[in-house]
């Protein structure tokens, strides 16, 4: 469960947002509406001027980035010198988790990761899959996906599979999109309007 009611200020930009939901949440809005700002505030990368952020039932408003157990994935996120398997296991190893090998192979297969070598040698879309798999296997409280689903060729199927795995692991996923129609891929759609203040939320039909 992600629950927040915040006001975030970045220079002249002011964002007020209220959100409550679990499972997969789509954060939709045009350029400059504050999607990235909100995701960065949830991740602890931007300070909250007012309000609270709760993730998985815990109030993480004042927690540091490394303490709040919330992973932000962007299109350029990757550790280029690592091999694919080392990359995918990086977060899990850091936390002392030991996912079953069968589970690792299943996740890789279902997310379309069927290549080896170093991550830096992969295409951008492939790197995004690896980064998303890495976040998933580290079993955080929540994964925030800042437009990192956009470059994938089988996007709808990927999001559906990813959401399924995240739910099984008890991980909430919030992804941003410029297209409100992407709400159909999520359990909740949250729309940021016109940059500054208002947000509305509804349970999607899925």
């Amino acid at each position: 469960m992600i629950e927040l009611n915040v006001r975030v200020e970045v220079g002249e930009f002011r964002l007020s947002a209220e959100l409550q939901g679990n499972g997969t949440i789509c954060l939709a809005g045009k350029n400059g509406t504050g999607k990235t700002t909100l995701l960065r505030a949830i991740a602890g990368l931007l300070p909250v001027a007012e309000g609270f952020v709760k993730v998985g039932g815990a109030d993480v408003t004042d927690s540091s980035v490394e303490e709040r157990d919330v992973v932000l994935v962007t299109p350029s996120t990757c550790f280029p010198r690592l091999s694919v398997d080392s990359h995918i296991m990086w977060g899990a190893r850091l936390k002392g988790l030991r996912p079953e090998k069968e589970y690792l192979l299943k996740v890789k297969s279902e997310l379309g990761i069927d290549y080896g070598g170093t991550v830096g040698s992969l295409s951008r879309g492939m790197r995004q899959r690896v980064a998303l798999a890495t976040a998933l296997l580290s079993s955080p409280r929540a994964i925030l996906v800042d437009e990192a689903f956009l470059g994938l060729n089988d996007r709808e199927a990927f999001v559906s599979t990813y959401s399924k795995h995240a739910k099984e692991a008890g991980v909430d996923v919030v992804f941003s999109s410029q297209d409100e129609a992407d709400g159909k891929l999520a359990d909740y759609l949250f729309v940021l309007n016109n940059g500054l203040a208002t947000a509305r939320q509804r349970k999607t039909s899925s």
Partner: protein, 260 residues
């Protein structure tokens, strides 16, 4: 006519006049065997050795500081870093001398641990670290700032500390920046005179027993304390320049190649 280019080249030539003069006279009309003697090459060896050690220390001790400055917003710390190079350099030599003097409590403590700066390789390297570290930090900081932080944020989101992120994620992808900053810092260490002429005029330790750093040797020729006089000083300077130029150029070329 590109006047900006013309003016820039003219001003650069003005800066390089001393270097050209020393190379021309040192290798030509003023060439003196004493300037290319074993003693001079031993002093260049000592300078290269101690500068290389100083850069290793810069890397180990000051890379975290450069990263902290790049990712934090600590203007006070940033300005404090410049202090050692903004004071007359002999002051650093005097400070190390006082710090390690048997008449001060710090000196008594250090000497009880058998730590002696005066005329030792440790003292020489310590002075070179203090004089080269600000250059190293100021070279690494913009390099770190130029890197996309998203992968670092990703690692921290999975629970990695800033320090863990630096060593596991940032440094393995920073070989070019580290090489460039190290070479630039090393060229700064090679050129140091003021501080080391006080704390380590010569070294009284194996394998450099009785050897002075190159800059001090050149000064000794010039001041007449060593036989050879001005001609030997000019020749030794030319030899030192020939060693230092490739290191400086390599550092800047690596940095240029990476678009900074």
């Amino acid at each position: 006519m590109n006047w900006l280019r013309l003016i820039s080249i003219a001003s650069l030539l003005l800066l390089l006049v001393p270097v050209f003069v020393l190379l021309y006279y040192g290798l030509g009309p003023f060439r003196d065997a004493a300037g290319f003697s074993t003693q001079v090459f031993r002093s260049i060896e000592l300078t290269l050795f101690s500068s290389a050690l100083a850069v290793v220390a810069d890397f180990i001790l000051f890379t975290p500081l450069a990263y902290y400055l790049a990712r934090g917003n600590d203007r006070i710390t940033e300005s404090l870093v410049d202090i050692p190079v903004s004071v007359p350099h002999p002051i650093i030599g005097v400070a190390l001398l006082i710090l390690d003097s048997p008449v001060t409590p710090t000196g008594q403590f250090l000497l009880s641990l058998h730590i002696n700066f005066y005329n030792t390789i440790l003292g020489l390297v310590t002075a070179l670290v203090i004089m080269s570290a600000p250059i190293y930090v100021k070279s690494m900081q913009p390099y770190f700032e130029s890197k996309d932080p998203s992968s670092e944020e990703f690692a921290m989101g999975m629970g990695a500390s800033r320090l863990k992120t630096l060593y596991s994620i940032v440094l393995p992808n920073s070989y070019d920046g580290l090489s460039s900053a190290s070479l630039i810092a090393m060229s700064r260490a090679l050129s140091e005179f003021g501080s080391i002429s006080i704390i380590a005029f010569y070294v009284l330790q194996f394998p450099f027993y009785g050897v002075s750093p190159a800059s001090v040797t050149i000064y000794e020729f010039f001041s007449g304390n060593m036989s050879g006089g001005l001609n030997a000083a000019v020749s030794a300077s030319a030899a030192m320049i020939l060693v230092a130029i490739p290191i400086t150029l390599a550092g800047h070329m690596i940095r240029k190649r990476n678009g900074r």
